[in-house]
């Protein structure tokens, strides 16, 4: 028994999203074994590695870019990724995280820390990442190679897209998914 010669390096990242796209990824169920035979999951909220590897073949990004931390992460990840994939509406279009944009940061924090509390709550300092003035889709801050809309994209859509990417092809997703799917 010998291992396949080389496996592709696959990563998934969770920025400002609800983790629904990662849940949908896990919904591939037994097809995960098929993916695992062809790719190694080298970095993900689902595995226990803290630092992003030197070079990753395919990175799936869930979530919008909402904080300085998100921005720092995605810039680093872009530099160390061959094919960057926006997975789901938050990464592709901003989606729910961008609903705060018309209001600005201060009214949003005020709603959370002043208006909707029973006891005064201090504003976070230092530990919680600072919000950007506006949440943005991933491609607004770094170049993106493949877009998979959907909220979340179905397990079938993700399986097809990942399989195509692992085969070195660009997935044709128009019939499978759309914004809000």
């Amino acid at each position: 028994m010998s291992e396949p010669v080389t496996k592709a390096k696959l990563a998934t990242v969770w920025l400002d999203g609800c983790s629904g796209c990662h849940m949908s990824f896990l919904d591939m169920d037994e097809r995960l074994l098929e993916v695992a035979a062809r790719a190694e999951l080298v970095y993900s909220p689902l595995v226990d590695r803290k630092d992003f590897p030197e070079i990753v073949d395919i990175t799936l990004v869930e979530g919008a870019v909402s904080s300085e931390e998100d921005l720092r992460k995605i810039r680093h990840i872009r530099e160390h990724t061959r094919v960057l994939v926006s997975l789901g509406d938050c990464a592709v279009a901003g989606n729910v995280p961008t609903m705060r944009n018309p209001f600005g940061v201060e009214p949003v924090l005020s709603r959370a820390y002043d208006e909707n509390v029973t006891a005064p709550a201090p504003r976070p300092r230092g530990v919680i990442p600072v919000l950007l003035q506006a949440a943005r889709p991933v491609h607004a801050v770094v170049p993106v190679d493949v877009y998979i809309p959907g909220c979340p994209p179905s397990a079938e859509t993700i399986h097809y897209a990942v399989s195509e990417l692992l085969a070195g092809r660009k997935p044709e997703l128009r019939k499978l998914t759309r914004f809000g799917a």
């Binding site: 989606n95 018309p102 889709p137 491609h139 914004f179 809000g180």
Partner: protein
Amino acid sequence: MAGRVLTCQIDGQDVSGLEESTILEVAREHHIRIPTLCHVPGLPEAGACRVCLVEVEGAARLLPACVTRIAEGMKVKTESERLLKYRRMTVEMLFAERNHICSVCVSNGHCDLQWLAQTLGVDHIRFPYRYPALPVDSSHARFVADHNRCVLCLRCVRVCGEIEGAHTWDVMGRGADCLVITDLAQPWGESASCTSCGKCVQVCPTGALSEKGKSAGEMAKQRRFLPYLTLMRGGNHV
């Protein structure tokens, strides 16, 4: 009084139509697909969205099929790389212009804008989103107007003025400040002219106008009444 029949070519196919017909009408009669957004069967055309642009031989610019009449010997192209480019751009700008959050929208899965994006292969928006602060008017007892989701197709204005005859809806402001309004920009619930017929809600292509109490994805619109109503009023809009 029947008009003259003209012959022309659409996508290389010889077609004919009455001389008053638009390119869109003749194309649809011959099962040639042209994507549209502001067009809705039964309403007079507005030419507001530019999604139905076509190439006409000899014309320097692209022409909207919904308001361009056919002419004898006219040669029309409804599909090309250039047209796809402009149609995509138009749809992307509609998304960038306001706050369209499909996943939480009452019209998710029943939306003409969403469907158009999918069929044109728009899988992301290349232009910067504007994120304007726009009002939601829920003052009406049965309906809601959410300007975040409005594409200014003017279907509501047309159906209210031309079919219901109330002319509650109109347009205010220019460019990025353009809004549909009820009466003289008064809350919809306080409108003296609105008959609460709900036709505007049914023809709205997105979730901008919806019935109260609908949750995400629940607002499917009913539009089959329109051609019938128009016919009964002596019109002939296809």
